[in-house]
Amino acid sequence: MSGSRPVPDTWSQTPSQTPSQTPSQTVGPFFHYALTETPGDDLDPDRHAGRPVVIRGRVLDGQGAPVGDAMLEVWQADGGGRYRHPADGRAPDVPDGFVGFGRIATEASSGRFEVHTAMPGTVPGRDGGVQAPHLNVHVFARGLLRHLHTRIYFEDGPGNDQDPVLASVPAERRATLLARRDATTSDASASDAAASDAAASDAAATDVAATDVDAVAYRFDLVLQGAGETVFFEA
């Protein structure tokens, strides 16, 4: 860190600087009260944007330790494969109230997260192709100086075999992008838990608990480093 110092660190930015991307910095450990209270982990509270799914998993570091201060951001299409965005001409057909965005903090002690959402449809790809249903995921955490970008596909999703992004990943690592049907966590027990929460809150929550009985459960662990490391993309 010694040696010549052509630009002292204490100089600030100047209007004459050529625009150049502002460097990324870590989200740090203290973001929760600012970022994850809304919109939270339920992307489709009205349960009308597609088939209800719940994805449960953990974020793990290179030693297998839970990452209890990560934030996941999910961006996805609705059940018809449409994004709520001006670049998608079909955006007006996205069901009212469905943005397709969620922000989830991992649980401090366990690194666990849950995403309640609608199964996205297939999405237009490049060159007239089609992309299999997927969630786009950004991972932020203390210790990540830039966020990581990955996708969650579904092991039983249609068109995984023809998906160009999956095909671009080395075959032996492809499985790190697949959410697995979760037989260990019964949907019934999950909805029981939701129902007991709901009993203490309000009627809207009760509705959610009721419809979650039908949610298809998946499991997806995010491994930041080492054995089973999740594939991350640079787009």
């Binding site: 991307q21 600012a34 970022l35 671009s168 991350f232």
Partner: protein, 247 residues
């Protein structure tokens, strides 16, 4: 991504890796077990990457840009009152209107309103330290807040973070997402901070707000200007009608 291919939407320029910190930075201990070992897999941008939540969120967000009073107690936060304002631009210098800017910070004593912050400095009941606003038609945002303090952390012996404000921006697309920190000019802790120091030296000044006396308001608050530059669109214009053809 040619103009003759109507299914390949206009993309964004690549991440400027020269200006970005590496994921593995020895001076910052928390990176050691959290950075991927494998290189990122290149992903040619699709509708999934050139869309993003930014436009929708901007439309849903109410400005909450006065951090000196938004604790809602009816009293003002303690500290040196400052105005932080600037423009959100892309790499062409094009202002980014109607885009969400979120900030969070510690209080004047260097303490966050967060359970995990155990620094024995006082909390301020009249300061939460979070705010958000949507840029105007000129791409300008503006916050009123108090100058955050420095605080210790356990990265290395006698480690202190320089005063900073966390900034979160979405921009128009998934690939324009940015979380960064704004630092204050003239801080001797800059040279000692491995998080700021993770960025190549010639790019660090882009993270340091400028004191601007034209922003300073007489007998009220000091002014800082901090512009933020997001990834810009590819230079090749997209000719084939854009959005509608994706339906």
């Amino acid at each position: 991504m040619t103009p003759t291919d109507p299914t390949s939407p206009l993309g964004y320029r690549p991440l400027d890796t020269e200006a970005m910190p590496p994921l593995d930075h020895a001076g910052y201990g928390s990176t050691s077990h959290r950075h991927p070992d494998q290189p990122a897999v290149p992903l040619a941008q699709t509708l999934s990457e050139v869309t993003g939540p930014g436009p929708a969120l901007a439309g849903l967000t109410e400005d909450d840009a006065d951090l000196t009073t938004n604790a809602g107690t009816g009293a003002e936060a303690l500290g040196e009152r400052i105005i932080v304002t600037g423009r959100v631009l892309d790499e062409d210098g094009t202002p980014q209107p109607r885009t969400l800017v979120e900030i969070w910070q510690c209080n004047a004593a260097g303490r966050y309103v967060h359970d995990a912050d155990q620094h024995p400095a006082p909390l301020d009941p009249n300061f939460v330290g979070r705010g958000r606003c949507v840029t105007d038609d000129a791409g300008t945002y503006r916050f009123l807040t108090i100058k955050p303090g420095a605080y210790p952390w356990r990265n290395h012996p006698n480690a202190w973070r320089p005063a900073h404000i966390h900034f979160s921006l979405f921009g128009p697309a998934l690939v324009t997402r940015l979380i960064t920190q704004m630092y204050f000019p003239g801080d001797p802790l800059h040279e000692l901070d491995p998080i700021m120091g993770s960025v190549p030296r010639e790019h660090r000044s882009r993270m340091i707000g400028a004191y601007d006396h034209t922003i300073t308001q007489e007998e009220w608050a000091l002014g800082y200007r901090f512009d933020i530059v997001l990834r810009g669109p590819e230079a090749t214009p997209f000719e084939a009608g854009g959005a509608g053809v994706l339906a």
